[in-house]
């Protein structure tokens, strides 16, 4: 789960990470008040989950309260388009108003999971303000990694090494080490999957500040963090994704016209791949769960049929223990109940597969059966093409 920058900064502050003074505003008048209280120059930052806000005009400098109000007025309600947002952009509903501190150096500090080593890695670089992947590709020598002990966590000597690698000395080095330990503490305490400060800046007066911060969380651990769960902003998610998550379906919308309904994540990805190989484009990833229950099939049809770009549906279910006659009955009932008009290709495998196919064929509905994955993909791509 992702959260907003202002939420991440509030959380980091609780863990002793220094962040710029500021507050969040949902109106131009409130932005003015905050700027007034801060005094001097401020930055007004659009609060959306997507990165690339600066280049898209989502971050503006303001000389004082009036300019902050004007900037907020311009940003609030606008649809911000960045390379990471959908083409239509996302609506800016809040802005963060912060002190504009003069910057002497831009650094990078982050914690994430190292899957190869099965423990957390803390990453430090003096090349802040750029994407770390870019730094890793261009100047890997500029990156220092310290791996936390799986049980004991990050040690002070490692934090010191990170601070030295950031080029810090004296009091700043001590502050940098403490900041790394605090960031790590937040990562562990809140079950993060990424805790990134980019840039971490050294200000003109020598302070270390988390100028931008990104926290993402392990969805599987949200059950033990109600405070984090409360930070979810559904406005940042696509409506279909939100509906699917309410049904407990694993759904991701894509750009194509072939709706996919599959049991199991691996088979669902493979189904998208084979649709593409057959010359079509998948409209989505959708895993209805290993069991493919009748309720989930009905819910899945609801999601797929409310996506106007879906022209045909490919159901690919490897039943195994699940009986195909039951699956067929579930598909037929769902199509009838929802009055579905889309052509549907069903490929299923498992116990009673012949009976299941017969039921689909005799249902009188626009259901095509397929003998295997390749056959199903070809049929559904043809149907999607004909329906366009």
């Amino acid at each position: 789960m992702k959260i907003h920058e202002y939420q991440a900064k509030a959380l980091l502050r609780e863990f002793g990470v220094t962040v710029p003074r500021g507050d969040v505003a949902d109106s131009p008048a409130r932005a003015r008040e905050i700027a007034q209280a801060l005094g001097g120059r401020v930055v007004v930052k659009a609060q959306v989950h997507a990165g690339g806000r600066g280049k898209a005009g989502g971050i503006q400098l303001a000389d004082g309260p009036s300019a902050a109000e004007a900037a907020a007025k311009q940003l609030l309600g606008m649809r911000l388009r960045t390379p990471q947002t959908p083409p239509e952009g996302v609506e800016v509903r809040r802005v963060l108003v912060e002190e504009a501190a003069p910057v002497r150096a831009e650094l990078y500090l982050a914690v994430t999971l190292d899957r190869e080593r099965s423990t957390e890695v803390v990453i430090a670089s003096q090349a802040g303000g750029m994407e770390i992947e870019e730094v890793a590709a261009r100047a890997p020598e500029k990156i220092l990694r310290e791996w936390a002990h799986p049980a004991l966590g990050l040690q002070p000597f490692q934090a010191r090494r990170l601070a030295f690698a950031l080029g810090l000395a004296g009091a700043q080095q001590t502050a940098g080490g403490t900041l790394a330990l605090n960031l790590f503490a937040c990562y562990r305490a809140k079950d993060c999957s990424l805790a990134e400060i980019n840039p971490l800046v050294v200000t003109g007066d020598g302070r270390l500040l988390a100028l931008d911060a990104k926290l993402t969380f392990d969805d599987n651990a949200l059950y033990r963090h109600p405070d984090v769960t409360a930070l979810r902003d559904v406005h940042e998610e696509l409506p279909l994704d939100v509906e699917a998550s309410r049904y407990g379906l694993n759904y991701i919308k894509l750009d194509g016209s072939v709706g996919c309904m599959v049991n199991g994540a691996g088979l669902a990805m493979a189904t998208m791949d084979i649709v593409k190989l057959a010359g079509g484009e998948p409209a989505n990833f959708l895993d209805v769960g290993g069991g493919a229950s009748p309720e989930q099939i009905e819910n899945a049809f609801r999601i797929l049929s409310s996506d106007p770009s879906v022209k045909a549906v490919f159901i690919n279910v490897f039943g195994g223990i699940l009986r195909c006659d039951r699956l067929a009955a579930g598909v037929i009932a769902a199509v009838r109940k929802l009055g579905l008009k889309l052509p549907v290709v069903v490929r299923m495998e498992g116990t009673n597969v012949e009976l299941g196919r017969k039921m689909l064929a005799e249902s009188g509905l626009a259901l095509t059966t397929a003998t295997d994955m390749g056959d199903g993909a070809q049929k559904v791509v043809e149907l999607a093409r004909a329906a366009r």
């Binding site: 079950d191 669902a268 195994g320 223990i321 498992g350």
Partner: protein, 290 residues
């Protein structure tokens, strides 16, 4: 065959739950020796014909369990893994999906101080056809034979097994290593075992986007494996930055793409299957039985 056979004695942790009870019975039906189950607080009772113990250690002491099959809910699953390892069970198989990553980081560290091997979590388990089924896969689609299968996926593994069996190609052992970012047994671990197993004549590897387990597998194959390896990587059309169902299936920072993994495996001498419909066919060709 590797890891499980007729001598394997399975204890099911979470046997009084719906999933645990159902699959304990399916494993037993297949011919697996299921010696009982563990549910704390229900020790001394029986559940659907299986004796229930309070702790894994009791099941080991009384029934000589050599394998733990875990269906415990996510919040308690890492603890269940550590309990099995502490009881000295050599093989721990965790089916549970949705365990917090941090819990698995700790559990894996705990395991490293024991001699237990963990398969999973978030996996279908493993099966040696005709010998033992320790997991949730449909037993009847398998057949005894000489193709070793290792996979990060569940239903996609059933798909390849079905394709193999339909072509008359049986399997030596099929291992689902799981779709989480932190898992016990890796591709490399299973490849090492299959490579040394005289019953295995060819290996089918099914990978997916995210992480670098396939690249590590490729390095191992290049250096050590002389048996034919056929590989399929799913998620060739997956968008970056989105988790594709499995917690570990995500292209992050431009790394972990299917194309990258396919290149590595192909360079290591594996036969890459572009279409998931042709997995069985490619194994047959690799074995010269097509």
């Amino acid at each position: 065959m590797i890891l499980v056979d007729k001598r394997t004695r399975v204890v099911v942790q979470g046997i009084t739950g719906r999933e645990g009870a159902f699959h304990a019975a399916r494993c037993k039906d297949y011919g697996t020796t299921v010696v009982g189950g563990v549910t704390p607080g229900k020790g001394g009772t029986t559940h659907e014909g299986f004796p229930v113990w309070n702790t894994v250690a009791e099941a080991v002491a009384n029934e000589g369990a050599t394998c733990a099959l875990i269906f415990v809910p996510p919040a308690a699953a890492a603890d269940a893994i550590m309990e099995a390892a502490a009881a000295g069970v050599p093989l721990v198989v965790c089916i549970t999906e949705g365990i917090p990553v941090a819990d698995m980081v700790r559990a894996k560290e705990f395991l490293s101080r024991t001699t237990s091997r963990l398969v999973g979590p978030n996996c279908p388990g493993l099966i040696t056809p005709g010998q033992a089924k320790v997991g949730i896969m449909p037993g009847h689609i398998h057949r005894e034979g000489h193709v070793g299968v290792v996979s990060r996926s569940g239903t996609l593994t059933y798909e390849v097994v079905h394709q193999l069996t339909t072509r008359g190609l049986g399997q030596s052992t099929c291992v689902g290593i799981g779709g989480d970012p932190v898992t016990g047994t890796s591709f490399v671990d299973v490849l090492r075992l299959l490579n040394e197993d005289p019953e295995t004549h060819a290996i089918m590897l099914i990978g997916e986007i995210g992480g670098s387990a396939e690249e590590e597998a490729a390095a191992f194959i290049r250096a050590n494996v002389r048996k034919p390896v056929v590989a399929f990587i799913c998620g060739q059309t997956a968008p970056p930055g989105r988790r594709m169902g499995h917690a570990g299936a995500i292209i992050a920072g431009g790394r972990g793409t299917a194309a990258e993994k396919m290149r590595a495996l192909e360079a290591a001498g594996a036969r890459l299957v572009p279409s998931p419909a042709d997995m069985g066919k490619q194994v047959a060709e690799a074995l010269g039985t097509a």
